[in-house]
């Protein structure tokens, strides 16, 4: 029984991180058909914003000193600004271009950001302790769960619900949903393309910052390459969820979290290092079975 509860919490908190990262990617894809490979690097930048720039192995807190009430909005702001800046500098020039060219450009942008971080902070992973108290275990349902896992699950729910409210109840949310479905038609009705796209990038960047805070608290490590792995999983969640579908991305994020926790728990010991290979194989198989995504409704147009 304990084990089941433990697995559940592991799966839900991992899935929560994946879901948030996938939301960030799905939002941009939905609005402008961009597969944004730089998203993982937004996460890495937010993590490194916590510490003083230097290539020393020991990390000295910079923004990380600030109390949570200041730090959280500040980091969300940094993520949003970074994403908006990348849209303004790079992606805005691709409005009439082929989505494939835009995808390659985002890959290049991610590479630039990653090497920028590498130049400033050096390549060695650094230990960071942000909010270490959150890793103290608490007992829930007979399982010993780090407080952080509970926070992650709650935070994911809060983020997903507030995003849903924003999309459902606000003017910009309505415009984003309309633009995601038919961008040209939305513009013909006076929806400002730049406002909607900038808004989507800001939200996406803020989501990246949220993921960054959770990851760094959980792992205690800042690594220039940390965005790559999470980005890959988030992509996969986006694809499985049906490209551009936000509820689909969330559901698929949780699904991948669950599958990967279950693989970790039940794969034979020898096969465990290959867990991710099984995970990615599962992705290709699910794409083959349902190219429109596992959670895409039948009425929605295929977008890829």
């Amino acid at each position: 029984m304990n084990n089941v509860a433990q697995l559940f919490f592991d799966a839900a908190s991992l899935g929560g991180i994946y879901a948030m990262a996938a939301l960030g990617i799905a939002l941009i894809f939905g609005v402008m058909n961009l597969v944004n490979f730089a998203h993982g690097d937004y996460i890495a930048v937010c993590v490194f914003a916590l510490i003083v720039p230097s290539s020393e192995a020991v990390a000295v807190m910079f923004l990380g000193h600030a109390p949570a009430v200041v730090l959280i909005p500040m980091l969300l702001g940094i993520g949003a600004l970074l994403a908006m800046a990348s849209e303004y500098v790079v992606f805005r020039h691709f409005r009439r271009a082929d989505p494939v060219a835009m995808m390659i450009a985002s890959f290049a942008l991610g590479f630039v950001i990653q090497n920028g971080l590498l130049a400033v902070y050096g390549g060695r992973p650094k230990a960071i302790s942000l909010w270490p108290d959150l890793n103290t275990p608490v007992a829930i349902a007979g399982a010993s769960v780090p407080l952080l896992q509970v926070i992650v699950i709650v935070a994911t729910l809060v983020v997903v619900c507030s995003l849903a409210l924003l999309l459902k109840k606000t003017r910009i949310g309505l415009e984003m949903r309309a633009a995601a479905e038919n961008f040209t038609m939305a513009r013909l009705l006076g929806v400002r393309a730049n406002v909607v796209i900038t808004g989507a990038f800001a939200l996406s960047g803020a989501l990246a910052a949220a993921v960054a805070m959770i990851m760094v608290t959980q792992t205690g490590v800042a690594d220039v390459r940390m965005g790559g792995q999470i980005m890959l999983v988030a992509f996969i969640a986006t694809v499985i969820g049906g490209m551009g579908s936000l509820p689909g991305a969330v559901a698929a994020g949780f699904l991948i979290g669950a599958v990967s926790v279950l693989l970790q728990a039940f794969l034979p010991l020898d096969a465990r290092p290959f867990r991710d290979a099984f995970l990615y194989t599962f992705v290709i198989v699910s794409l083959l079975l349902r190219p429109q995504g596992l959670f895409a409704s039948n009425t929605s147009k295929p977008r890829v």
Binding site: F94, A97, D98, I104, F107, F111, A119, M243, A277, I284
Partner: protein, 344 residues
């Protein structure tokens, strides 16, 4: 009518000849006038030509962007290492190899060809699945493939040495050997592109729907091009290992995926000459930047770029080319003999 058609065919076949001459001139000039490190750079450049031309055979003709080719490269590189390393070395570093492989000690050329063939087989199997998808979904699936290969090769301790490097490979891949393979890749790429299958495939690149409506078996042609592509990318992997003498799974991941895609995009993805031009131009740029990172003296002032500047600048160049000249430097054109006489 007939003669102009023949002339057109001849001109199309002049492309690989010109490209091979350019490659020979490049290697010849570098060997004549450069130092040892430049000769190594020439060998690296030719390996990239083999890789990028291999990549082009699939991406350039099908229009599907692949992020997975670094994975195929890893497969070729390790296959050649398995076949050529001394049995004693393998017993020490790669104890879990299958017995016949552990005892094998092949000459380098058959090993390179075998590495290419193994990669082609993997391309056939993986492509049979991935190419059922199209567009962005297919690209994402190739990315998943890359991650699968990387995960396996980074963890398969007794067979690949995992993240610790495999050392002791014969360093036979100098600029001349790699030039020969680069020439072969260019030739095969040109022949494939002008074959019925290659032409049909390029028709699907222009308009998927119309091509499939006119009865073109897009899946089959894509798969064939991926298999040929896989062969050369596998050979490029083998050459890569035998030029550095060291193998590490980290060499076959995002870094090389990025650089090779950059070369393809900067040169122009829709022509073979674009692929070759991209490799030569970016390789020279990289070499220049690496030297500037080490420090150069202009007059009395010593000047050095910060490390990492090379990658950042290449990324910036790639983005600018994508914005300003989305068709690349070659703009989809090929080098050809000038037209003679009356032209239509």
């Amino acid at each position: 009518m007939h003669s102009t058609h023949t002339q057109k065919r001849l001109r199309a076949l002049s492309t690989p000849v010109i490209l091979i001459l350019i490659l020979c001139a490049f290697v010849g000039l570098v060997t004549l006038f450069g130092d040892k490190s430049l000769a190594r750079m020439a060998a690296q450049t030719m390996i990239r030509v083999v890789f990028v031309v291999g990549l082009w055979i699939f991406v350039g003709n099908s229009g599907v962007v692949s992020f997975g080719h670094a994975g195929y490269m890893a497969i070729g590189a390790y296959a050649s290492a398995w076949l050529t390393l001394k049995p004693q070395t393998k017993a020490l570093f790669l104890p879990d190899l299958w017995p016949w492989l552990a005892e094998a000690q092949w000459p380098v050329l058959p090993a390179a060809i075998a590495a290419g063939l193994l990669t082609a087989c993997v391309a056939l199997i993986s492509g049979a699945a991935i190419l059922r998808l199209s567009g962005i979904a297919a690209s994402i699936a190739t990315f998943a493939f890359l991650a699968i290969v990387n995960t396996i090769y980074s963890n398969w301790d007794g067979v690949t040495g995992a993240t610790s490097s495999v050392v002791g490979l014969t360093r036979y891949a100098d600029q001349w050997v790699t030039l020969a393979w680069a020439g072969a890749a260019v030739l095969v790429a040109a022949v494939h592109a002008n074959s019925a299958s290659g032409l049909a495939l390029r028709a699907t690149r222009e308009d998927e729907v119309a091509a499939s409506a006119s009865g073109i078996n897009m899946y089959g042609h894509r798969l064939l091009s991926l298999v040929i592509s896989g062969f050369f990318v596998g050979v490029a992997g083998a050459l890569f290992g035998h030029s550095l003498g060291v193998l590490n799974p980290g060499s076959f991941y995002l870094g090389i995926t990025f650089i090779t895609l950059a070369m393809l995009v900067v040169g122009g993805v829709s022509s073979l000459s674009g692929a070759v031009t991209g490799v030569l131009v970016l390789s020279c740029l990289i070499e220049a930047l690496v030297r500037m990172e080490r420090g150069v003296e202009i007059g009395d002032v010593a000047f050095a770029l910060p490390s990492g500047a090379q990658e950042i600048l290449i990324g910036v160049v790639m983005i600018i080319v994508l914005i300003v000249r989305p068709t690349g430097l070659m703009g989809g054109r090929d080098f050809q003999w000038p037209k003679f006489g009356k032209t239509t």
